[in-house]
């Protein structure tokens, strides 16, 4: 597999989220349409990345429930297409290679099947932290701890 192919393998993945998180996703991501009283992101992936960051920074890793209770959304490669956002994201993820459970150099010697497993683990890594972040956000939202302002998300980042 070439570097390009490897990247594409990752970019084709469609991460999943738990269905129980749908309310919080609808509240905080407007997908360009609905408005809620709270500050919002636009597309789901924006909220997802943010939740991932939140989970990562707070150490909230929460594996997804069984597949039936989850739902996927747009593939990683389409997340803010013309920007290097995803590249940055991958940088962060690959910096956690130890936690995810692989070694960079070993990757170069793996068979395709093994590489796919690594990619799956990477996706699962993203999903778990995002799930943890979404859970945190949901709890704060339900307990009315959120101070709603245009800087809601910026403030949460500091906390």
């Amino acid at each position: 597999m070439t570097a390009q192919e490897f990247k594409i393998t990752i970019l084709l993945k469609r991460p999943r989220y738990a269905k129980s998180k749908i309310p919080v996703i609808e509240a905080f991501a407007n997908k360009g349409q609905s408005k809620s009283e709270y500050s919002q992101f636009g597309p789901i992936y924006e909220l997802y990345i943010y939740a991932f960051r939140l989970g990562l920074k707070k150490g909230l890793k929460l594996p997804l429930p069984p597949r039936n209770s989850t739902q996927d959304f747009i593939e990683i490669g389409k997340w803010k297409r013309d920007s290097s956002l995803v590249d940055f994201l991958l940088m962060i993820i690959f910096s956690k290679s130890e936690e995810i459970g692989f070694n960079w150099n070993d990757l170069e010697d793996m068979e395709e099947k093994e590489l796919n497993v690594v990619v799956s683990n990477i996706v699962e890594f993203i999903e778990s932290y995002a799930n943890g972040g979404l859970q945190y956000l949901q709890e704060e939202w339900e307990n009315d701890n959120l101070i709603n302002s245009s800087y809601l998300f910026a403030d949460l980042m500091n906390g």
């Binding site: 924006e46 956002l85 590249d87 990757l107 800087y151």
Partner: protein, 731 residues
């Protein structure tokens, strides 16, 4: 014996929510100032007195006075209405306490009760109204205990005594109404003022009687002549001639009256249009200012909305990269791992090389090995710059160089030595992600800057809103004042010019034709009367009749002159007083140096013109200027009264129309004339100040003549049903 208002209280009256005790203004002799911004209770004061004296209020929508019975639901405090349950009732009323002389104090309460019938608050039919009985109480000042007054006539007298009806028009000076009240362009207006100040009525009565008697005396003479059978043809002819002239004179006088009426109407219309024209101009000026401001506000609001919407974009926008906040460690770790990866990669690669070519004793390229270009150079020049010795072709050194070259190249050309060459994968990530991780340090600042920008936008929106509101308030006062319809400026100008034309026509007719004719007829009448008299002398009738006629005739003429003298004398006195007040009023303005001159018009009305120090008439349509002139005359009417003026003044003082210089003079002047003044101003209000008053307000607060000062507040941004007026007593 002056009337002094001790207090004015309101109960659920417009924005005055609550009981009388909650909305009381305690006032004293001297100057009392009430500071109220627009909508904070200024006109309510006047409405209270309109109710008190006339059972009326001024409807703010139609600008007409309406009977209190029909005012209905509008005048009740919205908050109070909202708090009244269906089936319950509220009371709305006004209460005035005043002291007359040294013995008695009176309390007058007018109110009505409204019962709520259904859910709707604003609908007239949702309330049932019952006017309450007029309550008048009296107490001795010594023993303060109110006792009710029962007699209806006495109640009415007590109300009248507060301010005598004839003088009310001079005691209530509500804004632009000053102009209407003292309209000396109407003959009746000046006549009424003079009547109030003199006994001219008596003179008129005597004069009228004498006219009547003169006629009678003449007819008596005629009768005598007839009975004497005096065949004096010349006498008869003379009498006939006299009668003819008298008839013509009467006709011409009628014409004069008609033209005068036309003139008066045209002048009234012109005056009305003057105001409207000035108003239209002012309104247009304000509209011109408002239009671009409103657009600017819309644009700014749009900008703000967009700005807010886009804040969250800053997380993922490469220009701001807020999402990258706090990932410094991860980025460093990545770079670290990448370096390790490259090193390890190299190590593995060379290991493989050794496995493949065990004979080749070139292992790892030493650190600092020259690159391909340098090696090429060394090969060509047959010299090794590393060891600094010759490497001629064919020597081992030269072969060594060649092998190194091939290795270098094969290295770069990349014979694959791994299954998956991921070097570029990581390298590209590192390069591509730069926009994000290079910003880490500046993200906190970026957030702060964003917040600052937001505040900045909000501030500019608030400033624009304030400015717009201020202009709109001004515009609204103009509408109220000018009874303005949506007449275009052009219509106003046309009507105005029409009126001017008619004035000119009427004046010409009167001056050039009718008045000369009347004068001629008068002269003819005089001569014919002389003729009749002299013809009479030679008649044979008893002297008594002739004497009678002569005496009455002379008295009639003298009485007419005496009457005119009284009138003119009063006008002069008014002029004198008006000038004293005028000087006071304009003391601190740039206009000092001129005088007011009262000029009698053909139709008996009076113009007061301002002549500058050179004696030239100054016509200024500036509202403030007109107001000053009229104030002077109002005060002259009062001060020219021989007795002291014993009633309070309630005035809406438009300080802004004049500027600060006027204000000092104004308070000094009214202090001299009125024993008590209650002055409502808005221009002293300043929201940002702790006491809510501006510099001028603070100066007045210190003035010894100012006895009380109140500031009215209306809560900012309150909902209609929450609107209440609270008052703070500063002095």
């Amino acid at each position: 014996m002056a009337s002094i208002i001790n207090s004015i209280s309101f109960k659920n009256f417009f924005n005055y929510y609550g009981d009388f005790e909650d909305n009381t203004y305690n006032l004293e002799e001297g100057i009392n100032i009430i500071i109220a911004d627009n909508g904070a209770g200024k006109s309510k004061f006047f409405n209270a007195f309109l109710w008190l004296f006339y059972d009326q209020i001024l409807d703010s929508d139609t600008k007409q006075k309406i009977n209190i019975k029909n005012a209905g639901v509008k005048i009740i405090s919205d908050k109070a209405k909202n708090e009244t349950a269906v089936g319950d009732y509220i009371t709305c009323g006004v209460c005035v306490e005043y002291t007359s002389g040294t013995r008695y104090k009176y309390q007058i309460i007018k109110s009505f009760t409204a019962t709520r019938l259904d859910e709707n608050i604003t609908d007239e039919s949702s309330w049932q109204f019952v006017m309450n009985e007029l309550e008048v109480n009296r107490t001795e000042l010594v023993l303060h205990k109110y006792k009710p007054v029962y007699d209806e006539n006495e109640k009415k007298q007590i109300i009248d005594k507060l301010i005598m009806p004839a003088f009310r028009q001079y005691s209530f000076l509500q804004g632009e109404e000053v102009d209407d009240i003292i309209d000396f362009s109407k003959k009746e207006s000046i006549e009424r003022a003079v009547e109030n100040l003199t006994d001219i009525k008596k003179y008129e009565q005597v004069h009228k009687l004498l006219e009547e008697f003169k006629e009678k005396a003449f007819r008596d003479v005629q009768k005598q002549l007839k009975t004497n059978n005096a065949q004096n043809e010349r006498f008869d002819n003379a009498v006939k001639e006299k009668e003819k002239i008298e008839q013509q004179l009467a006709q011409e006088k009628l014409k004069l009256e008609q033209y005068n009426e036309t003139l008066v109407n045209a002048e009234a219309e012109k005056n009305k249009l003057d105001k409207r024209y000035a108003n239209a101009e002012k309104r247009k000026e304000l509209d011109d200012q408002l239009k671009p401001l409103r657009k600017k506000l819309r644009d700014k609001k749009d900008e703000f909305e967009t700005f807010l919407d886009r804040i969250n974009n800053r997380f993922f926008d490469g220009n701001f990269a807020w999402i990258a906040l706090g990932f410094e460690n991860e980025v460093n770790k990545f770079n670290e791992l990448n370096d390790d990866f490259l090193d390890e990669r190299y190590r593995r690669k060379t290991l493989k090389e050794v496995e493949k070519n065990p004979n080749d004793f070139f292992t790892v390229m030493p650190i600092g090995s020259p690159d391909a270009a340098s090696i090429d150079k060394m090969i060509k020049q047959e010299h090794c710059y590393v060891c600094n010795r010759e490497a001629k072709r064919g020597t081992p050194a030269h072969n060594y160089l060649i092998k190194m070259n091939e290795r270098q190249k094969s290295e770069e050309v990349g014979e694959p030595f791994v299954k998956n060459d991921l070097k570029n994968f990581f390298g590209d990530l590192q390069i591509n992600a730069q926009p994000f991780y290079t910003k880490s340090d500046s993200i906190k600042d970026s957030i702060i800057k964003t917040k600052e920008k937001e505040v900045e936008l909000q501030d500019s929106i608030e400033r624009l809103k304030k400015r717009i509101k201020s202009l709109e308030d001004d515009r609204n006062t103009i509408m109220i004042a000018g009874h303005d319809a949506e007449q275009s400026a052009r219509d106003i100008i046309n009507d105005y010019n029409g009126a001017v034309r008619r004035i000119s026509d009427a004046e010409n007719k009167i001056n050039d034709i009718i008045v000369p004719k009347i004068n001629k007829l008068k002269r003819d009448l005089k001569t014919i009367n002389e003729e009749v008299k002299s013809l009479n002398k030679s008649n044979n009738i008893p002297d008594g009749y002739n004497d009678n006629y002569e005496v009455l005739s002379d008295l009639e003429e003298a009485a007419g002159k005496a009457k005119d003298k009284v009138f003119d004398g009063m006008i002069n006195l008014l002029e004198e007083h008006a000038n004293i007040h005028f000087k006071n009023l304009i003391k601190n303005n740039d206009l000092s140096g001129g005088i007011l001159k009262f000029e009698k018009n053909l139709n008996g009305s009076i113009n007061f013109n301002y002549l500058d120090s050179k004696g030239n008439s100054v016509y200024g349509s500036s509202e403030g200027f007109q107001r000053m002139k009229k104030f002077s005359v109002v005060m002259a009417i009062i001060s020219a009264n021989n007795a002291e003026y014993n009633y309070p003044l309630l005035a809406d003082a438009p300080i802004s129309a004049f500027g600060e210089g006027f204000t000092e003079g104004f308070f000094e002047a009214i202090g001299d004339v009125f024993p008590q003044s209650i002055v409502l101003v808005k221009e002293l209000y300043k929201r940002e100040d702790e006491m809510k008053i501006n510099e001028l307000g603070k100066r007045l607060l210190k003035d010894a003549r100012v006895k009380t000062m109140y500031v009215n507040h209306v809560p900012e941004n309150a909902e209609q049903i929450e609107l209440i007026t609270t008052q703070t007593k500063l002095k």
